[in-house]
Symmetry: C2
Subunit: 411 residues, 2 copies
């Protein structure tokens, strides 16, 4: 199946929004066994949009669109699809009733122009959008499919996962099974080097991707039956695990923070953080996980040196080693346990830049974790701009926490 | 001048790289008075790439390409342009010499396949790339231009700024001047409604864009001379400021956090935060600004209720009103001033979801700011997933801080 992605919206052409929908969708297509040949962005202009949809439908079997489903005059995706299919839109009464109920639930009278969000065509199956006002379209005729989804990323993703992907999976010629092994503490090239023996396999295919929070090893097998595909993946997964060991922290949708929290909860432990250069990013990542309050008690952001002392870091430690030191990191991890009563303390101190501090270069970071099982630390030097250093430091801290919990569990 | 952007590389179609070159280039075109009608990404396949370049050149006057200029068999941009123009590539001796010198300077013998990076065509002017091995092409014939630049973002940006933009500026029929007015505390539709009288103006043009941290109002004027364009913008800016007043918090690259920090520093005030549902995101945003340590002392992330009490929120306030209450938010803002010695305390408490808390629905957020000038608060109900609620709450807190500082300054 040949596909292409088409993102709609003049704001994309003005460069004020980067089209992250397209790259997200691109990543969804390969595991479904669908080839992607073109990605385009086009503005809110009916003539150009219709011409683009028409050409896409000529050269591809599946056209995946996002954006242009809003209620305004500038939202022209429905009009363009109607023009390409040469079908006339009509209001679907049930959809109109749901739309009016959505507004009524918010105590607002629906603006009349919104009624076009209840349009449908003879070739269209409506894709429900319970979290927004724009339903999607699955427009299928003559063996070709156009899918139109809202441009709001979380509405689009939900619709893809609940409505579009299941329909596409049914049509796949063979089952694809994918497992992502998530790796911490190694760079992408280092992962590739260690996996050289399996990287050239053709079924399953094995590929690595550097993400912000990990290096992903993606294993995908294709077979006539799901059990066969899963068995093919399991075999290679075992070999990869034997090579990468504890560097693999999780699979699929797991994140460094979700894994660390799960381990804490399984062990009945609570956590608190004390951050300097990450400025709250570490605790913010931890609290991105729903249910994090089951293990995370709280955090201290000790940006000013006096606050580190006020919150329990001995003045002598700072005087002797400086704020940017592994000794201070260790004292912070210990201090935050006392300040919060948490079982485990996790700390970060370092130089986020742009200027050096205490004569220590930008990117210098010291991290420590303290628990009744002892203290563990790591010192690193990260490259990149301020935001990048903060992120790398926070993810390295989460990995240190995981390794500490692993070792403490086996003592 | 009608233009389109074409990014080349199979990695873009696999979704593992988001095409930030395209959005960066898109932002460069408008100020040059060049209309952008299409953006596409295409893989490393000569047939599809040539077809895409051919169609782009048919419908646009300027085709801006990035990527596909490397030395490997997969780098096919030169081959595609040669096919479209029906011209035969030949090695340019000077370029070849420079290329060999570049490798020699690194102590490496140039691989022979790299010689194609010294190719040129009769219609091509070479664009130098002193920081990489891939020179660019300016291919001009029959009044149409194809620009090909490397895909590496910093090489591409340098080439654009030093080589491409100056050539395009010479052809521009007028100067463009743009000012972005950044708006907080109003939704995009509300901003559009208030600006209805200016939104239909044609020179300057006025348009709104919803960003994560603000609604942007972009005013762009075109004129023969820069002073004239600036005067046209200034005139409309005055009218917009009269309408939106204090909702405008900054211009161009300013952010809610950079503006709040600048105001604190100007007033000689220090800041501390106490966060519950935002979990450290507020202090992380603040510390994203270089130099934030000049005003930001630190923060408390009081996720567990006991920590709120340990850090100075009276137990009676929580018992009487619950953790999710404006009274608790006010007590938190006061408490963090005492805990940290900061002049200004800023607090957030609320329900980030996915489950309701104390019977209060997901998205309920209470925010307060306390200073010697008094306490100010706001209560809101945000929609969206957990991460979205955290972001909206943090930016609303920064806006409350700004408004408090503005009012305190005028007392």
């Amino acid at each position: 199946m040949r596909s292409e992605i088409l993102s709609v919206g003049t704001e994309l052409l003005l460069g004020h929004i980067t089209d992250t929908n397209a790259s997200w969708l691109a990543r969804q297509l390969t595991p479904l066994g669908i080839d992607l040949f073109y990605v385009s962005q086009v503005g809110d202009n009916l003539e150009r949009l219709s011409a683009t949809v028409r050409r896409a439908r000529e050269r591809s079997d599946l056209v995946v669109m996002s954006g242009g489903l809003g209620p305004t005059e500038d939202d022209l995706t429905r009009e363009a699809i109607a023009a390409v299919l040469d079908e006339t839109p009509h209001v679907q009464p049930q959809l109109e009733a749901e739309l009016r109920a959505f507004f009524a639930g918010r105590g607002i009278v629906m603006p009349e122009r919104n009624v076009k969000q209840a349009w449908t065509l003879p070739s269209v199956t409506i894709l429900p959008n319970p979290i927004g006002t724009a339903p999607g379209w699955w427009a299928e005729r003559d063996g070709k499919v156009i899918v139109a989804m809202p441009g709001v990323p979380y509405e689009m993703k939900r619709m893809w996962q609940n409505e579009v992907a299941p329909r596409l999976r049914e049509r796949a010629d063979g089952i694809l099974f994918t497992r992502i092994l998530r790796v911490a503490g190694l760079g992408e090239s280092s992962v590739e080097e260690r996996l050289d023996a399996v990287l050239h396999s053709s079924n399953p295919t094995v590929a690595t991707y550097a993400k912000q929070d990990a290096v992903d090893v993606r294993v995908t097998a294709k077979a006539a039956a799901p059990e066969v595909a899963q068995a093919l993946v399991a075999d290679i997964e075992e070999r990869i695990r034997a090579t990468l060991g504890q560097h693999i922290f999780g699979i699929d949708d797991e994140t460094p923070q979700s894994v660390a929290l799960r381990m804490l909860i399984e062990r009945g432990l609570t956590l608190a953080t004390m951050e300097s250069c990450t400025g709250g990013l570490l605790s913010s990542l931890i609290t991105d996980v729903p249910g994090s309050s089951n293990a995370f008690r709280g955090g201290l952001v000790s940006y000013a040196t006096e606050l580190k002392e006020a919150w329990g870091v001995p003045a002598e430690v700072i005087a002797a080693n400086g704020v940017i030191s592994v000794e201070t990191a260790r004292a912070m991890a210990t201090a935050v346990r006392q300040q919060t009563g948490a079982d485990v303390g996790l700390s970060v101190t370092g130089v986020a830049g742009p200027d050096e501090q205490e004569g220590k270069p930008v990117g210098t970071v010291h991290i420590a974790v303290a628990s009744p099982q002892g203290i563990r630390d790591t010192s690193q030097r990260f490259r990149g701009p301020r935001g990048e250093i903060k992120l790398r430091a926070a993810y390295t801290a989460l990995n240190l926490l995981r390794l500490h919990l692993l070792r403490a569990g086996s003592d």
